[in-house]
Symmetry: C2
Subunit: 198 residues, 2 copies
DNA sequence: GTCTATAAATCGATAGAC
DNA sequence: GTCTATCGATTTATAGAC
């Protein structure tokens, strides 16, 4: 009995997912350039030959990761808008969720940040890589602007305030990934919120 | 007339300095792994062969950078202690100086951060690379503890507070280095200080 | 769909001339 | 002290068998 087209498709989807998950881990810990195709293949428990069956090259894998992250963050932004409560409550909720996500999976945030300035990546891809952080920052900015109208967020340039929050999250992600991160203290949401509280 | 020993020494010192300055730029923009010896040599305006006359290998260059940065930050910490005024005033001075330094030379901060989690670097070197950030954080912590005794710094875990400030500085440095950093807003010292102000 | 073997290119590091 | 030529190892990517 031959494999059906449907089950073949399922196999492909699973493999692709395996590879992407492995790539996140490897990119986060080695950086794009040092990450070897063989490393990703090993982490995904496949041969490196098969990897080229799913992606044209290393940049394609990276691009797929960035696109997924961009999509995830857009959904997150949407979820925040759907959240009930005033802007301050939604800002609290958002930062709490972000810090939780960072605890479970710091890898993707670290990839996002580390490759921003990396000239080893093509300019087109690097520009793509700026998107997730931009979405995050823009989302926070919206909440800050609304919060200022409510009087619960301190006056001041909302871009500056959203930027500082973003820097914090990015800096934390890389520190968490360090093998010497035992002493890294995860800030509480309230600690970060002090930055913008009026 | 042959070159004297003294002038030879001066040539060596200058070359070494040229190479280190070039290495900072290249490491910051490409990361340790993607940074090619040829790139560093070109930026330093020497042949790549000569580079090996001054350093045994790529890791040695990186180690020299880290050591210098560690030394510079130790001196900075000492300068802060020498500063007059209470802890709050010295904390303000310190953050102002750090942000100024980041404007002029974001490269070394970015190198510090980006290689923290990079497994392409030997464990010994990576541990060394944790020192500069640790010194920075420890210095800020001291000021925070003193500031809390004065009542001008908010109560709370000083390690957490110092950590958040450090994350901000690190995150900012990488964003500034990105070629798409036109929209990055340098936070004012007062903005960061809100995180710890009582 | 998956693997192994291999081609082709890149890059760190060395040797030797000046 | 400095350079060019080159080796050797690593790694991306492909080809072809199963």
């Amino acid at each position: 009995m031959p494999r059906t087209e449907a089950s073949n498709q399922q196999i492909r989807d699973e493999r692709r997912e395996q590879i992407l998950q492995a790539a996140i881990k490897v990119f986060a810990r080695q950086g794009f350039s040092a990450a070897k195709i063989a490393d990703i293949a090993k982490a995904a428990q496949t041969s490196h030959g098969l990897l080229y069956h799913y992606f044209d090259n290393k940049e394609e894998i990276f691009a797929a990761l960035i696109e997924r992250t961009t999509h995830d963050l857009q959904q997150f932004a949407e979820a925040i808008r759907m959240q009930s409560g005033d802007a301050w409550e939604r800002l609290t909720w958002a930062l709490t969720r972000i810090l939780q996500g960072l605890r479970r999976q710091p890898d993707i945030y670290a990839v996002m940040l580390q490759e921003l300035a990396n000239e080893a990546i093509s300019p087109e891809l690097r520009q793509l890589a700026t998107r997730p952080a931009a979405i995050l920052q823009e989302t926070l900015k919206q909440l800050i602007v609304e919060g200022q109208a409510e009087g619960r967020v301190v006056a001041g340039d909302p871009d500056e305030l959203a930027g500082v929050l973003t820097f914090c999250i990015e800096g934390l992600s890389v520190n968490v990934l360090s093998p010497y991160s035992a002493s890294v203290i995860f800030p509480k949401p309230e600690t970060l919120l002090r930055l913008v509280k009026s």
